[in-house]
Structures are given as structure tokens and as C-alpha cells.
Symmetry: C2
Subunit: 287 residues, 2 copies
């Protein structure tokens, strides 16, 4: 077969080594219909070893007690999602956001999560260069507390289709530059294949990030994608070359959990136990 | 007002010089309900001076006669949209695509269009690096005929949300690199604000493109964007800093038409004469 006839699946299969199942982590947002306690039980039942807790899943609970319960069940808390949203045309709101991020860092410490993932924020009324200044200011304001409590922060570059309201940081190069400028051991990046898969400089930028890669998120890009927010696919259902990107983050030194983060109205409508089994299968076959 | 309190509108207003109305061009796809002849009449009525013709608008017509009619009405043909779609897992289909692009070039020559805009193509079954090779092969196969007929080709980088099925070229850097490597006077780029507005390297890459900027497309990014394909906004309705980007393409030497390309089920449902008047107003106020 000539080079011009190879297709995605051929290339993906070539030399792929499935990741160890002990590295599988699921986000509570992936199984959103399940309350935290049920999610923990179902993940354990399916042999999953890590959990990333979304803050809404902690509502009405003690973070410390939730963390203890998670660990007693045999799961590791991988990260707390999510902080950020530092960008606002209104200065008062930016101060509120910084306080909210400090609360998230305290919550992470209580939960026993070593990391808070940052969806850095955007506001259609704030031009992107200014938004990036606001993000930097916000991160710098939160980092001292994070360092003090032993919690790291990860800038997660988002897909450019979220540049109006969710993140003015839409590529890994910009996240890397900000990390280099701030230069704190408590600051790194989260690599999510959904947001970055199309970037021709991704391999180079992951190498540049090196040990600053603090998290690795997987799902897939469906064709067609029917909704900008809630139509992500299970690994293997789309066109993202996840094994290649996993290879790049591992070459950069990352050996942590591989986190399944899927927002999908279609999957949230399923019976969640069998959905979690499908996630485990997709992880084994397509990551 | 401090730098941190400036908002998009403040920055946009600062020093903006409205573009000359003689540079306004509308794409037939923007007013899709109108047959070509009606579009021509309505554009002229509204004082528009340029038209970009989509190939579907020529169905059942002689391109030469259509071009003559357009010019007699007082409009200039700015470009023909669109060629491209060079990427396919199937080699036979790639050969068909190249022939189809040669037909588009002949059609442009007959119409009197100096430019064919390329939506370069993508296929979820073809990995992006390979897709980019197929695009380069396709462009190189079409360029000799284009040069011979005096028609230029413009690579239009598309928004990354189209990287699965429409274009494996999702940033201006990649388009520039391909132009530099192929190095033909008949090849350049099309800058569409919708696809590129969020890119921190956009100003630099437009400067790098220089005289290779062959087309400039405008519309706006709406919040929320309700559909990935057909929910573009009129200029001024969204968060794109169009005057800034116009400044960059003009600094690069571009003084051609400013093309309004809006796919919108909402606007296609309107009475098109008053919609065209709104386009003219939005062009004067927000470009």
C-alpha cells in the first residue's frame, strides 16, 4: 500500500501499545447523571482507578469527606475541574473570579486533588489580547495559595470554537508561553485531544511543555458534530489520532492518568453502568 | 480608563476609518435564496460593486454569459467559490477532485473571475499530515492550467471545527508554508476573519503572507453560535475585531474587495432586499 493510500486506522494500529488499565480515569461530568457516590461505586465496579471530580458533583458535600470516601473505595483523585473564567469586562467580576479560584484551590486541597484544571475564560466584550492579560493576572493571583497548599494549576487550551466565552487560550503554544513567562513549579498545562488534535504544531508544543504536561484528556471528534458543546464522541468513534497524541505526551515524560472527559447528551441519556463499560472498552481499544 | 477596563468596542472605535464602499463585495451564498440574476440586480441597487459567484449559482447557465451580464450591470467578478476538496481516502476520488478543480478554473476564466478560492478538503478517514500532502499534490496538479488561463488560486484556511470534513489546513501559518514551498505566482491565501480571528499569530502570519493575500472575507462570530455551519453573524453582531484584521491585511498590501460571506439560515429566511441593505450598513459601521 502506498503512503497515499494509508488511512487513519492503518496508521493508528501500527505499533500501538494499549495503555495500562491502571491509568484510566473518568471525569464525573462524563457520567453526569450519577451523583458522586454512585459514580465512585460504578467506576470501582468497572475497574477504573482514577476520578476527576467536577465541582458541581461536590455540591452539598464536605470535600474532605468526599475525598476520604473516594480513597476508601480504592480510587485516586486525579484533579478538580474546574477553575478559571478569569476574563470579564467588569473589574469587580474579575476580583470575584479570583476569589472563586482560591476557593477551588482550597477545595482541591481538602479533597486531596493535586491539580485544578483551568478553563481560563473569555468574554465576547473583551478583546483576546486583553483577555490573555486578565488570565495571566488571575493565575498569578491564585498561584501563591496553590503553592502553599501543594495544589498545581493546569492551563487547558480550549478549541477555538470556545474563544468567545470559555477560553482566550486556544492553542498549546500560548499556554506554554504563559507558563514559561510565569515560571512557577505549580503551573503547567492540560492536553485535551478534543481541543488540540488538528494543530500542526502539537507534537512540537507537547515536547516544549515537557514536564509541564500535568493532565491528559481523551474523547473523540464525531462527524458530524451536531452540537458545539455536548456531542463529543467515545474514543474510536471519531477522527482524532489519540494513540499518536498519547505517544507525544508520554515522550514528553507524562506517565499519569489518562482522563476520559466526554460531554454528550446522547451518552448522558444511556444507562450509565453499561456506558462506563463501553468507556473501558474504548480506552483499551483506541487510546 | 485603564487598559484593563477597555472593551472590544472601545478598541475597535479607536482610529477606525470606514472602508470605501467601492470595495464592498457580496458572495452569492450570502443571499442564497436569490438566483444569480436577482442577486446581481439587488447588489447593484444597493450600491454594491463586487460579486463572488458560487458555482451552484451558475448551474444551468453559461459562465461566459453570466460574466458578461454581471459586468454589464456594473459589478466586478471578484472570485469563484469554490474549488478544493482534494482529500480523500480513495485515490480514484482524488483524481476526480483534481479534474473538478480544473473545471472550476476553466469556469472562472469563462466567467472572468481572477481567482478560485480553495476549501482544501479533509476526510475523517485520512490523517491530517497525509491530508496536507494530498492537498499539496492537488494544488500542484491544478496550478499549470490556472497559470495558463490567468486565474489565481487562494488557499483558505478554515476554522478548526471543520478539520474533519472540510479542510486539513486550519491556520494561516500552514497555508503560508504551503505557498512558500510551492512558490507559484498563481497561488496565495484567502483571509476569512471567521476562521482565523482567535489566532494569536494572525497579525504576524498576515504580514508573512504579504502580497500573497488574494482575498479578504468578513462576517462575525455570534454568541452563542447555534450551528457549526449556518449561524454566522453580520459584521458587528459578534466578537471579531474586524477593523484590526482589516488593518493587518491592508498593511500587508491588500487593497482589493472586502467580501461578505455569511451562511445563516436565519438571514436566508429574511426578505433579501432589506437584508442586503443591512449588509451595506454593517459594512460601513463595523469593517
Amino acid at each position: 500500500m502506498s503512503a497515499m493510500n494509508r488511512t487513519t486506522d492503518d496508521l493508528r494500529d501500527r505499533g500501538r501499545t494499549p495503555p495500562d488499565q491502571s491509568r484510566l480515569c473518568i471525569h464525573t461530568a462524563t457520567t453526569r447523571p450519577l451523583p458522586l457516590e454512585a459514580a465512585v461505586d460504578e467506576y470501582v465496579r468497572a475497574g477504573v482507578r482514577g476520578i476527576t471530580v467536577w465541582r458541581d458533583a461536590l455540591a452539598g458535600r464536605s470535600a474532605r469527606a468526599a475525598g476520604d470516601r473516594i480513597r476508601r473505595a480504592g480510587l485516586e483523585v486525579v484533579s478538580l475541574c474546574r477553575g478559571g473564567f478569569f476574563v470579564n469586562a467588569d473589574e469587580e467580576e474579575r476580583i470575584v473570579a479570583i476569589e472563586e479560584n482560591r476557593s477551588a484551590v482550597r477545595e482541591a486541597a481538602e479533597l486531596g486533588a493535586p491539580l485544578v484544571v483551568l478553563v481560563c475564560g473569555a468574554d465576547p466584550a473583551v478583546p483576546l489580547p486583553l483577555a490573555r492579560e486578565q488570565i495571566r493576572t488571575g493565575i498569578e493571583a491564585v498561584l501563591p495559595l496553590a503553592s502553599q497548599l501543594g495544589v498545581k494549576l493546569a492551563i487547558e487550551p480550549l478549541h477555538p470554537m470556545y474563544a468567545d466565552t470559555r477560553s482566550a487560550i486556544t492553542d498549546l503554544a500560548t499556554a506554554n508561553r504563559m507558563c514559561e513567562e510565569i515560571d512557577s513549579p505549580a503551573l503547567g498545562v492540560a492536553v485535551d485531544v478534543y481541543h488540540l488534535w488538528f494543530d500542526p504544531s502539537l507534537e512540537t508544543e507537547i515536547e516544549r511543555a515537557g514536564e509541564r504536561v500535568l493532565a491528559f484528556h481523551v474523547c473523540d471528534w464525531r462527524t458530524p458534530t451536531r452540537d458545539l458543546l455536548t456531542d463529543r464522541g467515545l474514543m474510536g468513534e471519531g477522527c482524532i489520532d489519540i494513540p499518536a497524541i498519547r505517544g507525544w505526551v508520554e515522550a514528553a515524560g507524562f506517565d499519569g492518568f489518562i482522563e476520559v472527559e466526554i460531554f454528550s447528551t446522547e451518552y448522558w441519556a444511556l444507562e450509565q453502568r453499561s456506558y462506563i463499560e463501553r468507556i473501558v472498552g474504548a480506552y483499551e481499544a483506541h487510546v
